[in-house]
Subunit: 671 residues, 2 copies
């Protein structure tokens, strides 16, 4: 009877999931023991692989699951393949639905039911929460201080890495061809595909050690930022290369190349726009409604909107994962500030849990699939080539780019940091997911096998050696991320790493590229005030002609504090004020004060207790200095302003000169 | 190319999920507006149905999804059906996997791809978190005060309800047969199945109103407890009836009947044991390790263990949902007390969110499936009969059982409460899930259609009328659940509902059945101290011969407080002490003090600040009176005890007589 078949299948499914739960529990317990004993050479992901390998071996050699029966049928006279086949066996009907697969060939023939998950399960269910959490938990302040370098490493570095790996492995493929298989079907584009897949770094182990040891914040930000963004680059690159591959079978096809390039850029922009839009809508909803009174509703909306961004991108044939990454970053940057305190905790904890479970599941599955996947292709020459390529490509990525970046960076990336970044080139969940997604051809199977080996080796060897490497490279640990900057400025010589602290400035931010600074100011003066409750009020920053709109969009909270003391932005602004005189007068993206005729009177009312805090705040300015409502807090100041921006710039400048009388300075700054 | 088919399917899937997300978002916003305006006539679930209906109609009449192509093949000469069919069309292979379905017939022929989910998806993915949350959020104290009545309503009431509904609808089926279709294939067992399915009440709407209005706690506990437990009864009953149905096709078959009865009891016990075991293991892990230092690990273990209980039950062919319910109740009762403060919040919030999303999803889906499900069977006579049966059966459940229970209850269930319980017989997610699980035959399709209509009507009419009904029945609202009991005792006459407060006792608990009291004491003196950090120390309560084991199992915290002041148990104990003299001397399930020769000296050390709180605590005893560490806290008392239980009973009794000297009373209580 077919209902008993259904029950049997359900039981097997339950037992399979149970196996993974048991594996996760085992990993969690062991990792807890290691954490208690402060053993850092094995991270939970490395351990999950080990347990996965053990269970995989047990499954393989105990014949845990039986195989299914296959029936081959030929059908010739239809012009379209059916979606459903109904088979009548002894007067019973059995329904068969089409297995939607990217492979044309069936290759799971003999071992059909061995624990395998649909590769799309990883891409559509497990990876999104991991990637979203990465974006959502970016340490914003230090990330944005290094944004230029991070983007350089992520974009140019990943491209360099993919090309270098592609080139080197192609050399080894040629050796293999000349020695053994002249007809080995693996061309340069396949090598490039491998290069793109394996260029997604995932230093989760390293970052966990960094967090525990409180490693230098800039190194942490550079590495974390690079790994988060280069996932996006690698994913889009892989899909662009596949598009190129499927469009052409000949040598170089410039049409297909430009189509792929267009797809690369288009997917990136599209994903960015959708992820950003989802966040903007969420942020605006939370800003203009009081839905935070019901945290469960607020959290649900947050979760559903973020998930929707993924689905919209997928429905539009963009890359959901990349969308979710941008969505995570922007949700953290804007929406998070509008959430109620409870929802802040809830969303963070929810995604932390999802991330933790999904990540460990993937690493367990990697271990298991080393044994249960029945089409591994071990090609010794390719594997050797791949390992060499991974090392060389990382060097070609980090050292030249660091050299170039150091030319422009105020705070140089010292050599020991470069070595550490070189060392932290681990591969993980993304590379695995990209590799397992298509394993139809022999070449793709070889890629999958090689990626597995690279992930295992890097996670165990590099992940395990992190603490040791930090000691060898003499990298600062025990840094309080919040106090790091003022500490450096107060006693420049006392830091034990002279490379890091020889920058001459007081508040320094690492990148000084003007594009980022300008973007940041635009964000600070317009986007944040529009999307969150943060100040400065738009009525001050927008030109006078937009006054009704500005008044409508500005949150009442914004009037209380003209610049929000959100911790991620203050450094850039301070830096500006303290020693960046060239940028100081006006928010640079402001329109010229054309509407100078309409005079607006703005009264900044001082709240008494704010004034009382003023002296404290001033002394604490180094640590968290953006509370510049203080500068005008001690008395009611009525300022007549001729145009939009100048009032703000005067207040802004006021902060820089540390509470000199308002009127005196103001005259100077009038445009 | 097949990869584009895969992409196309993926896009459609994404769009379908997106549709539900949009629906959920819409529901959330509307419900927020209603909450803000304090409109209570429409609960989120009712609203989800409305929106679902609208979207369902749009899908149906706009031909949103296209149908698939079906190919019929005949296969005769095999003795077993294959698991996979490979179809070769023009030299391309396409894989078809067997659709595992309980139906032998394919009935989704023409409208294959209209948004439908596998019914098992509800049973295995959506329902478990809902049911677990119901168990996990039981208001323990008031639940256990009424445990006897709740169990009566849940077990006997549900059975009565199923039989009455079965009988009445069978009458209507006979009318239908005599009037229209003499061959209508719908027998008494089918009616009984319908009765079991529709006996699962789900007064989520009513309870939401109760919570908001702070309705009388006993009414709330009775209704919530009944609805939670009767789900389990209905689910197991349905599977037992199905088992009976599949075993026999003739009239009454006593063998099959007893097999079904055995399965009913076996599934219940099995589920109870597995759910309980999962909780016990989790509780012990958290008690004896300090894994709470890492809340993410703790929360993960909690989540995985609870999920594992579901999967174990399913793998063993028991009912995972029932297991998960018991697991939820016991996790709340034991494990919750061992969790770190952060994990308490995390687990609650996590399951609250899952519950919220899953519940609203199911109700939306109900609305949608009213239109998109293409095999509705509307049978007017059956539907009329079903509605009458639902009303009559509820009356046959509530009134006679209340009458019988009132004979034994100290605190009677007044008539207005009975009317309210009668009124609150809403049907919801469980009935729907049970009905949609098998819709192969015409009879099952008729059941499904009728259940949908009953759910809609009860949710809208009864759910919407809750507030009005509370007013009409003059039921107390605005009751502080914690202060409710002392309030009653302090001014017995001031309560506006004389029915409720005419019980003569001071601390009263509603049920006085001895079995529950004894179980409760066993739980309090042995299970809780073994599984949690709560007191009394096992070294006191267990017989002397078990001393090493007891010492090993007792938490250091237990010595500090001899009875834990966990809020769910104090009433029963107090009650015992204050006026239940017959049960007072010893924990009744204790073994006779055989090992009386080994004298154990136990020193109860008083912590100074606890002593300082003593006077306060005594005066506050009515509200939360189990802080009986206080009774021995003001001085160091060294007690020589001859046998296990007597020390405890003396301390216990001490509490009752409000701090009389220890020595005087102790002599009395020696066995």
């Amino acid at each position: 009877m077919s209902s008993s078949v259904a029950e049997e299948k359900h039981r097997t499914d339950s037992a399979n999931i149970l196996l993974f739960i048991a594996l996760l529990l085992l990993t969690i317990f062991t990792i807890w023991l290691l954490k208690r004993k402060r053993i850092r050479f094995l991270h939970e992901t490395g351990l999950a692989i080990v347990y996965g390998l053990i269970i995989g071996a047990v499954i393989k050699y105990t014949n845990y699951n039986s195989s299914g029966r296959i029936h081959y049928l030929n059908m010739t006279s239809t012009n379209e393949t059916p979606d459903v086949v109904v088979l009548t066996v002894d007067n019973s009907n059995f329904t068969y639905t089409k297995q939607v697969s990217t492979c044309q060939q069936l290759h799971q023939d003999e071992e059909l039911q061995k624990i395998t998950f649909d590769p799309e399960f990883f891409f559509n269910i497990l990876l999104p929460p991991i990637i979203f959490y990465a974006g959502y938990s970016l340490k914003k302040r230090h990330f944005f201080r290094n944004i230029g370098s991070i983007l350089t490493f992520a974009f140019i570095g990943t491209l360099v890495s993919a090309v270098v790996i592609g080139g080197i492995t192609y050399g080894f493929v040629l050796i293999h061809k000349s020695l053994y298989e002249p007809n080995f079907a693996f061309g340069f584009i396949d090598c490039l595909l491998f290069g793109a897949i394996v260029s997604a770094t995932d230093p989760v182990t390293v970052l966990a050690v960094f967090k525990e040891l409180k490693v230098d914040v800039d190194l942490d930000a550079l590495l974390f930022g690079e790994s988060v963004l280069n996932d996006a680059v690698a994913i889009v690159l892989v899909s662009a290369i596949k598009k190129y591959q499927s469009a052409t079978s000949a040598a170089f096809d410039s049409g297909a190349f430009f189509a792929s390039l267009g797809s690369f850029i288009g997917v990136f922009l599209g994903s960015f726009v959708i992820g950003g839009l989802a966040s903007i809508i969420t942020a605006l909803i939370f800003k203009f409604t009081k839905i935070g009174e019901f945290p469960i509703l607020e959290t649900s909306i947050f979760f559903l909107m973020s998930w929707a961004s993924f689905l919209i991108a997928e429905a539009l044939s963009l890359t959901g994962i990349v969308t979710v990454l941008f969505c995570g970053i922007t949700q953290a940057h804007y929406t998070y500030n509008n959430l109620s305190a409870e929802s802040k905790g809830r969303t963070r904890q929810l995604f932390e849990l999802l991330n933790f479970l999904a990540e460990n599941f993937i690493f367990s599955y990697m271990g298991i699939s080393m044994f249960t996947y029945s089409h591994h292709k071990f090609n010794a020459i390719f594997i050797v080539g791949a390992f060499i390529a991974v090392i060389v490509s990382r060097a070609c990525n980090i050292y030249p780019l660091s050299f170039l970046l150091n030319l422009g960076r105020k705070k140089k990336i010292p050599y020991n940091m470069q070595h550490m970044m070189m060392f932290a080139g681990l591969r993980g969940a993304i590379a695995f997911t990209l590799a397992i997604r298509t394993t139809c051809t022999e070449g793709e199977q070889m890629i999958f096998t090689t990626v597995l080996l690279i992930v295992f080796t890097t996670v165990w060897v590099l992940g395990g050696g992190t603490t040791q490497m930090l000691t060898w490279l003499n990298i600062k640990v025990g840094v309080d991320p919040d106090a790091a900057i003022p500490q450096e400025s107060d006693n420049n010589t006392s830091t034990n790493n002279s490379d890091v602290s020889n920058a001459p400035t007081r508040h320094k931010y690492a990148d000084s590229a003007w594009m980022f600074k300008n973007w940041y100011k635009f964000d600070q003066y317009y986007l944040k005030p529009i999307l969150t409750h943060a100040g400065p009020p738009l009525t001050n920053t927008l030109p006078g002609c937009c006054y009704p709109l500005a008044k409508c969009l500005t949150s009442p909270h914004a009037y209380a504090s003209s610049i929000e003391n959100d911790s991620d932005t203050d450094f850039i602004l301070n830096d500006d004020v303290a020693f960046g005189n060239q940028n100081q007068t006006n928010p640079p993206t402001l329109p010229p004060s054309g509407g100078a005729t309409n005079m607006t009177e703005v009264k900044l009312e001082a709240v008494p207790q704010v004034a009382g805090d003023a002296s404290n705040d001033i002394t604490k300015r180094d640590a968290n200095s953006a509370k510049n409502d203080v500068t005008v807090a001690s008395e009611d100041v009525t300022i007549t302003r001729p145009s939009g921006p100048s009032l703000f710039s005067s207040i802004h400048h006021e902060m820089a000169v540390e509470m000199e009388p308002v009127g005196k300075k103001e005259a100077k700054n009038q445009v």
